[in-house]
Symmetry: C2
Subunit: 310 residues, 2 copies
Amino acid sequence: MAVLLSTKAAAIAEWEAALSALDPTLVLHRHPFAGDPAEIEAVVMWTGHDPADLRRYPNLRLIVSMGAGVDHLLAPPGPPPGVPVARLVDARLTQAMSEWVLLNVLRFHRQDPDYRAQQAGRIWRELPAPDTARRRIGILGLGALGADAAGKLAALGFPVAGWSRRPKSLPGIACHHGPDGFEAVLRQADILVCLLPLTPATRGILDARAFALLPRGAFLLNAARGGHVAQGDLLPALESGQIAGAALDVTEPEPLPPDSPLWTHPKVVLTPHAASVTIPASVAPQVIENIRRARAGEPILNRVDPAAGY
Amino acid sequence: MAVLLSTKAAAIAEWEAALSALDPTLVLHRHPFAGDPAEIEAVVMWTGHDPADLRRYPNLRLIVSMGAGVDHLLAPPGPPPGVPVARLVDARLTQAMSEWVLLNVLRFHRQDPDYRAQQAGRIWRELPAPDTARRRIGILGLGALGADAAGKLAALGFPVAGWSRRPKSLPGIACHHGPDGFEAVLRQADILVCLLPLTPATRGILDARAFALLPRGAFLLNAARGGHVAQGDLLPALESGQIAGAALDVTEPEPLPPDSPLWTHPKVVLTPHAASVTIPASVAPQVIENIRRARAGEPILNRVDPAAGY
């Protein structure tokens, strides 16, 4: 029995090394696999692997996403019914994401784009000091990533409100849920941070209607998926001043096409889906443990509910 | 008896309002004061006020700096002997400084200058993920500002070492002192943060010798005083690659002259002495309390030792 690995060419050797280091008996194959499909008991995959391929393996008993998101493998036709799907929950992934959020919250909070422009113009002028206690942060998504970012922002003195599909309770965070909660969070989010899973319910959730709920001149951070932002609604919101700046780690499609106006927009800060990058050596233990559990018929860790989409 | 206020024209009305709101009986004058010098019992001052002027007031019993630094009022000839000098220690000043430090540590840690350059070139390319647990931070100065920044960086998972003149002990921070300690901190500082007071002992402390102690490709943050950096040594260290980037909130002189090469240096990030700006309403209570204490002959808060320079 074997494990099929499927990711970018640049990363596959690192995955093989990390898994083999923990279990040298593991038989690893690279996708696409030309051997007998009945050999494959687990698929560990990232974007770019058509989920229809998963139906080729009659003995499949585990599917693992190589990241926190699973939208890529839940896309139609989705995973074969009954085969458990796991995502990664990892301290380094969480830490890296919170760093990206802190960097970009502080960038806008501390008027850094204005100071960069002043430096380019050789202007030495102090801007009005921002008041952290009055800079309200809204976090969309209160899973492992959103909860960690919310806690770290609250620890710095920012008032933080969060929104999630199901009710949650987090110390020091004003937690909201449901449609009314979504509106309540957006209405007072001077800086809005999207860390939602991408599901049919959240696709395009950041649209013109949502932007209009924000206080005028709010900032937007998106490190979730490009599909959360309604194509065509962001640029008008930036042009009108309703949104004063956006930090985007994700776009649709990726890579961002060379002719996208986002590249050169003065209010847009881009990173190339680099906010939180899986380190194979860091996550290998949970992958190995899930393979063991799948073989033993035990409940797997960080299991995804395909119906909920995360 | 009266209080003399001395600061930038743009700030003086805010100071008057903040102090009067707490004590409407306080008699406030603006520097320069044309009345009877014997009236002045306290001077609350910022840079630009010649300390020689302080000798004009025979009944002076308190001098307050409007910031955390006191180098401006300790400059020759210094304050009149025997008159107590106070600096400000304020939660908002401390918080603002730590935000500036976090923003710039994260900027360099997360390769933000490289990602800005990639965006300008429409390049979508993930850089190697940085490892927070291996990015060693060195903090020079472990007073109210340095200790807070050190604690917040350690809480984010960075290994933090600090250096101060006198021995200190801070939870989770490797504390060093003395000349050997200075060298030990610099030798392992991937990101070096200067938050020292400017004194005769620390002027020019960041010179070619200090830069050579840093790991090659280190980053430098200076939010203390421009005088901590030896003029003429920084640009060669940036050119050689010994220092890979510098974030400077302070320069010598200020404002930075229009012909300084720092303005356009691709590895230099400038802010105009804006990292931590005194909010008069936030610090007015401690100033009022110190005036009360000076009148009552009680020990004043946050008193400076002119011999030590801070």
